[in-house]
């Protein structure tokens, strides 16, 4: 765990002292990614850099795993913390292998172990070691360089990682790929990570917790969903924007929102049975039709059931859009809009019906947290 207590930085400038970080206090639990978010000059980067003392704090304390770092030798401290910066900062005079091996070498690891570690890390980010070990940073694309920047920070397996807008210089498409890759790595590595960003979507996507900074102060520190649902003040609210409800939709998964106990009909059920089930549940719209594998194949409309006679299998509309359990609500809403429907069947990995999701259900889910709490 990283515990930050009353961390303060005052810069002396010709125009007088400027407080870049003002009594910042926060805890980052083990294995979580904490995003420091805010407009430029808000103190997020200063706070981050005080942790490995690239910037020396004016006052306050940082402890890592209950050990106070104040008295620690800075070079020892830094070697035990991974550090990734936006400009990547790969040393152009060293090969990729040498770059990755910097910290292990500083720590006095033997050649063999260092080399194996470099290979292992390159494998982890899907860069072929035999092709990349001997290359120089100038020969790599921006995305490849940033991957190397990240694994260089991981080389000595530090428990804590500091990242200063690590993906900021990468084009949007590659950024999304690297973010996903990084999240996948993190799910195995379980590092405790402090991550500076000014990109709200990145923060919501990557963060287990988000700390909002403004003018040197920590304004709010919460889980992303809580932040979006309950912004503490106007600043946080306007920072996330008018569309914060839509942003929250990224955070919710289909499995959390869908109605899972849903009635179904089969091909050879009578339409009257369908109407009965709809009446029982008070459905005004339609009921799902499944095949013998319990996979949704269509829906029987209430209007049809009320006016026609026969088997369900003779009077249904096919479904052309399905929601998967791990899709986020934003994707689901997009599907609904593009298919002009207010209803979607949700399926598991095997394509079996797991539940249904309606626009009403989504708005109720999102709306629930906005209602005044008692």
């Amino acid at each position: 765990m990283i515990r930050i207590e009353n961390l303060t930085k005052v810069f002396e400038t010709p125009e007088g002292p400027v407080t870049a970080a003002d009594h910042i206090t926060m805890d980052v639990p083990d294995g979580e990614i904490c995003i420091l978010l805010g407009p430029s000059g808000c103190g997020k980067t200063t706070t981050l850099k005080m942790i490995n003392r690239i910037i020396e704090p004016t006052s306050g304390r940082v402890s890592i795993n209950d050990e106070d770092t104040t008295g620690m030798n800075t070079t020892d401290l830094r070697r035990s913390i991974g550090y990734v910066i936006q400009q990547i900062g790969l040393f152009p005079n060293m090969t990729i292998e040498e770059n990755i091996s910097v910290v292990p070498r500083l720590l006095g690891w033997d050649r063999k172990r260092t080399r194996e570690r470099a290979r292992e890390l390159l494998d982890m980010v899907a860069l072929d070691p035999s092709a990349f070990m001997g290359r120089y940073p100038g020969e790599l694309s921006g995305g490849q360089q940033q991957r190397v920047g990240v694994i260089r920070a991981l080389a000595a397996d530090p428990p804590v990682l500091l990242m200063d807008e690590p993906f900021g210089a990468i084009d949007p498409i590659n950024r999304a790929v690297i973010q996903d890759e990084f999240l996948r790595m993190q799910s195995e590595l379980n590092k405790t990570i402090l991550f500076v960003s000014h990109d709200i979507d990145e923060a919501i996507k990557m963060g287990d917790r988000i700390a909002i900074f403004r003018a040197g102060r920590l304004v709010q520190y919460d889980r992303p969903d809580d932040l979006l649902a309950h912004p503490k003040n106007d600043f946080v609210e306007s920072f996330f924007g008018e569309d914060r409800a839509l942003k929250r939709m990224q955070l919710a998964r289909v499995r959390d929102v869908m109605e899972d106990d849903v009635p179904v009909v089969r091909h050879d059920d009578d339409l009257r049975r369908a109407l009965e089930l709809m009446d029982e549940r008070g459905y005004h719209y339609a009921i799902t039709l499944v095949n013998e594998h319990h996979q949704p194949v269509g829906m029987v409309m209430r209007s049809t059931a009320e006016t026609r006679r026969g088997k369900c299998g003779e009077h249904y509309y096919g479904v052309d859009a399905l929601a998967h359990l791990d899709d986020d609500l934003r994707k689901v809403a997009s599907l609904m809009f593009s298919h002009d429907t207010t209803w979607l069947a949700c399926v598991d990995e095997d394509g079996r019906l797991a539940g249904t999701l309606t626009q009403r259900g989504i708005t109720r889910y999102l709306g629930a947290t906005y209602r005044p709490q008692e």
Partner: protein, 219 residues
């Protein structure tokens, strides 16, 4: 024809004077590297000191060589070294300071701040940072300074023949005083070729000393 026979007759003198010339420049520039590089690194610590040091060095370099010799002779005479190779070596040493100090200073100063931060971030001490990152990156630029210094001072050393330092300038000085075109041309061509050769040779060395990772970017 005259010239060819002159060269043939004086081959050993020509070789000796060339070696002498190279040795004097090499010793002086060698000493200049040994002093200039540490000075260049040291002054990166303070912009003000750097400005003063570079100002003085650039003033020294504007002083014409023969005037510098002229000023040095009476001073060095007090220790019995007024004439000969000592003032010549000292002059070259002084002249070389500007290109070497300036290039070292700029090269170290120009190291991308992101790299410096990365080096600090991975826990390098200031000395490790200098040794593993800053100096390797600065070497090509420092070498360019050495190259400038060598080429310039091959010319200065030629003039130093007038204060008895020897070297290839001797052919020219005798050629002038005896109005002997053969010696004039041999001296002038030899010293020119030496300068051109040194320029190319050091360019090659500069390229070889450039870390491989910088070659593509630096050209």
């Amino acid at each position: 024809m005259d010239i060819i026979t002159f060269i043939a007759d004086n081959v050993d003198v020509l070789v000796n004077r060339t070696i002498e010339h190279i040795a004097l420049v090499a010793v002086a520039v060698g000493l200049a590297v040994a002093t200039g590089v540490p000075i260049g690194i040291a002054i990166t610590q303070s912009q003000r000191v750097a400005n003063i040091v570079l100002y003085i060095a650039s003033m020294v370099i504007t002083v014409p060589s023969i005037a510098l010799f002229g000023v040095m002779i009476p001073i060095l005479s007090t220790i019995g070294q007024g004439i000969g190779y000592v003032p010549a070596v000292i002059a070259v040493l002084l002249y070389s300071q500007l290109p070497i100090i300036r290039n070292t200073y700029t090269a170290i100063n120009d190291v991308d701040p992101a790299l410096r931060e990365a080096a600090r971030g991975v826990g390098m001490s200031p000395m490790q940072r200098l040794r593993m990152v800053e100096i390797p990156l600065a070497v090509p630029v420092i070498m360019a300074g050495v190259r400038t210094a060598v080429v310039m001072n091959i010319g200065v050393m030629a003039i130093a023949t007038y204060i008895g330092a020897g070297g290839l300038g001797t052919f020219i000085s005798r050629g002038i005083s005896q109005t002997d075109p053969r010696q004039l041309i041999v001296g002038a061509v030899a010293v020119s070729l030496l300068a051109i050769a040194a320029d190319f040779g050091l360019l090659g060395l500069q390229r070889r000393l450039t870390p491989r990772g910088l070659q593509r970017a630096g050209g």
